[in-house]
C-alpha cells in the first residue's frame, strides 16, 4: 500500500478557504477555553504530574489490573470478553447481538469501534448501526470517518450539514439554521432509542477496584443508548484501566477542561452492573496495544485519554484538517499512534509537524508527543521510508555541513542564487516550503565574513 500523502491530501482542505479559516479559528478557540480553565485551577500542573504518574504505574502493572477489573466486573454480574484485534472484536459484538436477535444498535461515539471498523462489519451482516452523537452521525450519514476525536464534524460548516441532512434524514433543503439542524437530528434519532434492541458505548476509563467503567459525554446519547435497550455492550481498549476511584477524580477534573474548556462534561456516567433484567457486556480490546507497550520510546503514548488538546493547539492540524491524515487518529497524537499500526502506510505522517512542542505542553497526562514525533522521523529515515526529495536533500546537507570549505562556498552561492535566479528556479516542486511562503531576502553579508572583518583581529 502506498503511504498516505498528508501534504497532498491537505492541499484539498486548504483550497476551501472559508472552511480552512473557520476550522483554524474554532479549534484555536477551544485551546483558549482550555487555557482559561487550566489557569483557574492552582493545582493544574500538579494534577498533570499525578495523572502521568497514575498512568505510568498502571501501564507497568497492566496485566494485574486487567485481571482485577475482569474479576470485579464478573462479580458485578457483567460479561467480559477479550479481543486480540479489530476483527475479533467485531465478531464478538456480532455474536452477542445475534444471540439477542438484535437488528438495530444505537451507539455513542467510540474511537475504538472506528479503529476496529466495526460499522461496515455489522452492516454487512444485517445489523443497522445508528451513531447517536451529533457530529459522529453527520459523519456517518456523509459516509466519512470522524475528522477529530472529540468534535468529529468540526471540518464541516452549517451549509454542509444542511446538505447532508436534507439528503439523508429529510430536513428542509437549504435550511442552515443550527438549532433547526440539531433538532432535526434529535427527532430523527429518538425513535431509534425507543425501539433498538441493543445499545453500545465506549469508555473513557475503566476502574480495576470496582469493575466499573466511565463514559463522559455531553449530549445524553450514551446514557440513552445504555439505559433504554435491554442489552448494553461497551468496547474498551486495554489501556483505559486505572486502579481506583480516587484516581478517577484526577482525570475527570482534567478531561473536559483539556478537551472543550468546560469544568466537566454534562454527563459523567459510571456503569458498574447491569440493570435488573438486562445484560451488560464488556469487550476488552488489544489491537496492537500490548505490542506498543513493549516499544521503549513509544509506550508513553498509551497514557493518552483522548482529549484532543494536542490537535486543537497544533498549527499543522488546524490548517490541514483531520481527514488529511488518512487514519483513525489524526493530529499530533495520531502521528505517534498510527505508525505503530502500519509503519509503511503512515511513514510520512511524522513530518506533519513543526515540532514546536505545544502538543506536549497542553497534554494533561504529559506525553512527550513532539519528542516521539522526532523519534518516529529517525525510525523512518533508518528504515528508508523517506520521500526521495527529502532523502536526497538530507544526504547533500549532511555532506555540505560536515565540510567547512564546502559549506562556505554553498552559503555564498545561495546568497547569489537568491538574488539572481528567476522565480521558477526557487519556487518549484523541489521546494514545497515555498508554496505558500516567500523565501526571505538573503543578508548582505554572511556572519563569517562580518566576523572576519570586525572581530578576528582583536
Amino acid at each position: 500500500m502506498k503511504p498516505i500523502d498528508h501534504a497532498e491530501a491537505s492541499s484539498h482542505f486548504i483550497e476551501a478557504k472559508e472552511h480552512l479559516e473557520f476550522h483554524d479559528r474554532r479549534l484555536w478557540d477551544l485551546r483558549l477555553k482550555r487555557d482559561r480553565e487550566a489557569l483557574a485551577i492552582p493545582e493544574w500542573e500538579e494534577l498533570r504530574d499525578l495523572a502521568s504518574a497514575i498512568k505510568e504505574h498502571t501501564l507497568t502493572h497492566l496485566a494485574d489490573y486487567l485481571e482485577e477489573f475482569e474479576a470485579q466486573a464478573k462479580k458485578n454480574g457483567g460479561h467480559v470478553h477479550w479481543a486480540r484485534d479489530g476483527n475479533e472484536h467485531n465478531q464478538i459484538v456480532y455474536d452477542i447481538l445475534s444471540a439477542h436477535d438484535a437488528k438495530t444498535l444505537v451507539k455513542s461515539k467510540s474511537m475504538l469501534t472506528d479503529e476496529c471498523e466495526m460499522r461496515p462489519f455489522l452492516e454487512m451482516r444485517g445489523v443497522e448501526v445508528i451513531e447517536t452523537d451529533l457530529g459522529e452521525r453527520i459523519q456517518q450519514l456523509d459516509d466519512e470517518p470522524p475528522s477529530h476525536i472529540v468534535v468529529p464534524a468540526v471540518h464541516k460548516l452549517r451549509g454542509d450539514v444542511s446538505e447532508v441532512f436534507a439528503r439523508t434524514i429529510g430536513s428542509e433543503p437549504g435550511n442552515t439554521n443550527v438549532p433547526y439542524l440539531a433538532e432535526a437530528m434529535r427527532r430523527n434519532t429518538r425513535p431509534y432509542f425507543l425501539s433498538a434492541e441493543a445499545g453500545m458505548t465506549g469508555a473513557n476509563f475503566a476502574i480495576a477496584e470496582t469493575g466499573s467503567f466511565v463514559v463522559c459525554t455531553n449530549e445524553g446519547n450514551a446514557d440513552l443508548s445504555a439505559n433504554v435497550p435491554k442489552l448494553h455492550i461497551a468496547s474498551i481498549g486495554i489501556e483505559k484501566i486505572i486502579p481506583k476511584l480516587e484516581h478517577l477524580a484526577v482525570f475527570i477534573r482534567m478531561l473536559s477542561r483539556s478537551a472543550l474548556g468546560s469544568p466537566i462534561t454534562q454527563y459523567t456516567s459510571h456503569f458498574r452492573a447491569p440493570r435488573p433484567g438486562t445484560e451488560l457486556h464488556v469487550v476488552l480490546v488489544d489491537n496492537g496495544r500490548s505490542q506498543r507497550l513493549g516499544m521503549k520510546d513509544f509506550w508513553y503514548s498509551l497514557k493518552c485519554i483522548r482529549c484532543g488538546a494536542c490537535m486543537n493547539t497544533c498549527p499543522v492540524y488546524r490548517r490541514s484538517g483531520g481527514l488529511s491524515y488518512g487514519a483513525t487518529y489524526s493530529g499530533p497524537i495520531g502521528i505517534i499512534i498510527d505508525p505503530a499500526f502500519d509503519i509503511r502506510k503512515y511513514s510520512h505522517l511524522p513530518y506533519a509537524s513543526t515540532l514546536n512542542g505545544s502538543c506536549t505542553n497542553v497534554c494533561p497526562v504529559k506525553i512527550n508527543i513532539h519528542e516521539q514525533i522526532y523519534k518516529w522521523r529517525q525510525i523512518m529515515a533508518e528504515r528508508n521510508q523517506l520521500p526521495l526529495v527529502k532523502k536526497e536533500a538530507i544526504r547533500v546537507i549532511g555532506k555540505v555541513m560536515s565540510e567547512p570549505r564546502l559549506y562556505r562556498a554553498a552559503i555564498s552561492a545561495t546568497g547569489l542564487a537568491f538574488e539572481h535566479l528567476p522565480r521558477f528556479a526557487i519556487y518549484n516542486w523541489l521546494n514545497p516550503w515555498g508554496r505558500q511562503r516567500e523565501v526571505p531576502a538573503p543578508p548582505k553579508q554572511t556572519f563569517r565574513n562580518w566576523y572576519l572583518e570586525n572581530r578576528s583581529r582583536r
Partner: protein
Amino acid sequence: MTSRDAILAAVRANQPTSTPPIPDIPMFESSRPLLERFQESLISMGGKIAPALDGQSLDTLVQSLFPDAAVICSGTPEVRGTRSLDETAGPATLADVDVGVVRAAFGVAETGSVWLSEEELKVNAIAYLAQHLIVLLDPTRIIGNLHQAYRDARFKIARYAVLVTGPSATADIEGVLIHGAQGVRSLIVALIPL
C-alpha cells in the same frame, strides 16, 4: 490459548519493568463558599436554580415552572406530579414525559454537578427521556470537589451512577451551543432541604 490468556501474556511480556509507585492523591480543598461556587458552576454549564418556595408546595412550584406540561413524572415522594414513576414499566414508556423530578444524593461545588443513581432515578432513563428535568438538592449536601465526591462509598454500591451537570448539550455544528441535544432540554436545581 484463549484470546484472554494471549493478551495477558503479551502484556506481561511487554510491560516495562520500571515500577513507578502509585502516587497519593491530595484532596485539594478550596476555601470558597460551597453554595455560591455550586450555583456559579451550574449556571456556567447551562443549568438553572429554581426560585425559592416561599411557602408554596413543591407541586405548585413545578407547575409554575412548566405551566404547559401535560406529563410530570416524579421519582421522589415530595412531588406528586401527574404520573407516578413505575419502576417495573420499561424505560421506553417514559417517552412522553414533559418534566421529570428527582432528588439528588449530593452536589459538587467545583463543577455544579448533582449525583444520581438508580436509587434516586427509579428508572435511569427518566433523566434523559424527559424533555425537562428538575433536581431537588439539599444545600447542606454540597461537597467541594471531585476528589471528595469519589471518596463516597455509594459509587461502589450503585449499579449506575451519574454526575449530571446542566442539561444535555452539543456544539458539534460550528461550535454553536444547543441545549437539548439528545437528553433533557433544560435542567433546574431546586435547593430544598431534606
